[in-house]
């Protein structure tokens, strides 16, 4: 009898998954094991992919996100079914809001148990439907190869985002000979890249005729890799540039045309420039409420050109004269070619007057550390050649204001969702992606505690992330709002004894000095802890942290009532800034 030719390989679902990830050149995965993903971990065990065991699934998803932001490549995380997948939810939503390419792989109970309230069962695709770019429940191992390919394609193209693949345990075990995928053809998903030439020409005309133009750039520039083109456009047309929080690093922070960030905690000169402008060139930004302030009073004199890859972002919040849907890189390339060389001497002079009159500034105080100075010192010590992640709140805004980001992918921050606890695990992911770069997480004493367990991950894997805690004993940003808008009633924002009875704070003598003592926390995990109490010691401490191997916590005791200024109160016009240096 003739032997049948069996050149077709047979793989299990789990083997196929790991092989496919290797095929996608995935070098690192972050995650946490559990009952429904044992098969996948069993295969990972033999592979050359570096696996990072975090101490919480949320740490894993943020680390994958930080990896993606720092490297520009998709981040991958794995969690088990039920609580494993629900613990990913915050991180997936964070990536979705900031358009970060992420592949989340979750285990699911065997297909015959789905819907039976089985142990550790939740409807993962149902829960994550609204917070993923797309998600898949794999019901048949024969479709797995195709789904993995599509997932990576969807996550990384167009406006990127997280894609989740939910794989039941029996599908991981089942064998398939379908181990390669067909060319991707998703009829409902064809991102527009090129941008209409007609619209680009029209935009160029507007730019040529503008007297007071401003470029308003967002994270889309960084995603698209269009920073150099943005700079060319700004220089050729002599146009000042402001960016969103997500756009910091898209344009050199030290460039003379740079206005800093705009919006709620943006610079006064950026906000004034927007309000006086006759043409706003918005690129890869979405006119978010933290940027526009009161919408009806936003940029009253300006025509708006809006370039974005996501058609749903264009014209969503403001009326746009020239919408251009496409990839910023392609569109800017054309635009730079056809716009005329320009000089806007009067306009630049006016903008520079605002810059001189209303600079970002702070006063150094005795006996405490100034948070803004800490941020400046990190930049000075690293010469700006570092990756900085932040948590959310005052720490995030001080970084945005005072660290002059010169290069894209050097700031990792949860801009859209505003996730406390993001910064530290993201920094771990970034350090894995870019071991050559110093990586700092600039945190508050509130937010660092949301994922402080990842110190174990960093210590065990010797991931030398440096954590700077701006420690004010408060949930500072909410406290600031309470100070300014709630008559100083610090309800539930004091992180010490005062939390129980804020009014009687002075009378409470038993308040412990630190809750917790972060130096001891660092030491308990086997990391290094340094405490800083005055500005004179800040630089030394940061230098020491840089020289120390492995993770370091620098606990900086700052004034408990330090505020982030200037500030546009929520819902006010951009010209109504408080606390600036007028």
């Amino acid at each position: 009898m003739k032997k049948e030719k069996t050149d077709k390989k047979i793989l299990s679902g789990a083997e196929l998954l790991v092989k496919s990830l290797q095929g996608k050149n995935i070098k690192a995965i972050f995650g946490y094991p559990g009952g429904t993903v044992i098969d996948i971990f069993d295969c990972l065990h033999d592979s050359d992919i570096d696996f990072y065991l975090t101490r919480h699934e949320q740490g894993a998803v943020h680390a994958a996100d930080g990896y993606a932001r720092a490297s520009g490549k998709p981040g991958v995380c794995i969690a088990t079914s039920g609580p494993g997948s629900t613990n990913l939810v915050t991180g997936i939503a964070t990536a979705q809001m900031d358009s970060i390419p992420l592949i989340a792989i979750t285990g699911q109970v065997p297909t015959n148990l789905i819907g039976n309230e089985a142990f550790q069962e939740v409807d993962t695709t149902g829960i994550t439907r609204a917070i993923t770019k797309h998600n898949y429940l794999v019901k048949d191992v024969d479709s797995l190869a195709q789904i993995i390919d599509e997932a990576f394609y969807i996550a990384t193209t167009g406006r990127p985002g997280p894609v989740l693949i939910d794989i039941p345990k029996d599908v991981q075990k089942a064998k398939t000979s379908n181990i390669s995928s067909k060319p991707i053809n998703i009829p409902g998903y064809k991102p527009t890249l090129m941008g209409s030439l007609k619209q680009i020409k029209k935009a160029a005309e507007f730019i040529d005729n503008a007297k007071r133009p401003v470029i308003y750039a967002g994270g889309g520039i960084i995603t698209s890799g269009a920073s150099d083109l943005l700079r060319k456009l700004a220089e050729k047309t002599d146009t000042p540039v402001t960016t969103t929080l997500m756009g910091l690093g898209a344009f050199p922070g030290t460039h003379e045309l740079f206005l800093g960030m705009l919006g709620m905690h943006g610079t006064q000169y950026a906000n004034y420039a927007i309000m006086e402008s006759d043409l706003i060139i918005a690129i890869g930004a979405r006119f978010d409420d933290r940027v526009t302030g009161k919408l009806s009073e936003f940029a009253p004199h300006a025509n708006i050109i809006h370039i974005d890859i996501d058609p749903t972002s264009v014209g969503k919040n403001v009326k746009v004269e020239i919408p251009i849907v496409g990839d910023a890189k392609h569109i800017l390339k054309e635009l730079v070619k056809i716009v005329k060389d320009k000089k806007h001497n009067d306009w630049i002079k006016e903008v520079n007057t605002w810059k001189e009159k209303f600079p970002l500034s702070y006063k150094k105080k005795e006996g405490v550390v100034s948070p803004q100075y800490v941020v400046e010192c990190v930049r000075e010590v690293t010469k700006g050649n570092a990756i900085i992640s932040t948590e959310v709140g005052q720490n995030q805004m001080w970084v945005a204001q005072f660290y002059k980001f010169d290069k894209p992918r050097t700031l990792l921050t949860s801009g859209g969702l505003g996730t406390m606890g993001y910064g530290f695990p993201a920094a771990i992911g970034a350090k894995v992606a870019r071991p050559d770069m110093p990586v700092f997480d600039i945190a508050g004493d509130g937010s660092i505690q949301m994922n402080i367990q990842e110190l174990a991950t960093a210590v065990i894997k010797n991931i030398g992330v440096k954590i700077i805690i701006l420690n004010n004993g408060y949930l500072g940003m909410v406290r600031q709002w309470q100070e300014l808008f709630y008559n100083k009633r610090y309800a539930a924002t004091c992180l010490r004894t005062g939390a129980l009875n804020p009014k009687k704070c002075e009378m409470v003598k038993k308040c412990p000095e630190y809750t917790p003592d972060f130096v001891k926390v660092a030491e308990a995990y086997g990391a290094t802890g340094i405490r800083v109490r005055k500005n004179d010691d800040v630089k030394n401490a940061i230098e020491k942290a840089m020289e120390t191997d492995g993770p370091v916590i620098v606990d900086c005791i700052i004034d408990s009532e330090e505020n982030v200024f200037p500030m546009v109160p929520a819902g006010s016009s951009l010209t109504q800034m408080i606390g600036g240096m007028a």
Partner: protein
């Protein structure tokens, strides 16, 4: 404002949930919804009647287009189209009312699809006003049960709203 839209989607599980969720998450009520395969069995056509704020509706249309499994979204507002809905109505019957009921059914070009001693089931197809008029007339006889397919619509011009 009430609108009829159709959404052409890939015929896969979970797609209907994605589409309807965009409406529900914005507080839009879907008044009727019908789904069926198209000539190409890989595709399904969802026809919906929704009621709500115009601005939000435009937003939803854009978001629908953004869904990976959605191929096309068309709004029949301002488009010349034919719309139909079918109803099955079970109505009380007695010797005395039989003739009158059959007469009404006849006038409305409805169809008797089942008849028993005490009940009869009628099928009717048409636009809103016709169906409403029919229901008004037979209500006094005592309606036992109604089931509606939800509205479907097709554009008259082949260039508008086609697949």
């Amino acid at each position: 404002m009430k609108r009829i839209i159709f959404v052409l989607v890939e015929n896969k599980f979970g797609v209907l949930a994605r589409v309807s969720e965009l409406f529900s998450s914005r507080g839009f009520n879907i008044q009727s919804l019908s789904v069926g395969e198209t000539l190409d069995s890989k595709l399904s056509r969802i026809t919906m009647v929704v009621d709500g704020d115009d601005y939000i509706f435009e937003e939803i249309k854009k978001q629908l287009n953004k869904l990976i499994n959605v191929i096309k979204v068309r709004d029949f507002t301002g488009v010349d189209h034919v719309e139909r809905e079918m109803l099955l109505i079970k109505v009380n019957l007695s010797k005395n009312t039989r003739a009158e009921l059959m007469e009404i059914v006849d006038i409305f070009r409805a169809k008797i699809v089942d008849v028993g001693k005490k009940e009869m089931t009628v099928e009717i197809t048409g636009k809103d006003n016709k169906i409403q008029a029919f229901l008004d007339l037979i209500k006094p006889f005592g309606i036992v049960e109604i089931v509606r397919t939800g509205k479907i619509a097709i554009a008259r011009n082949k260039n508008e709203g086609g697949e």
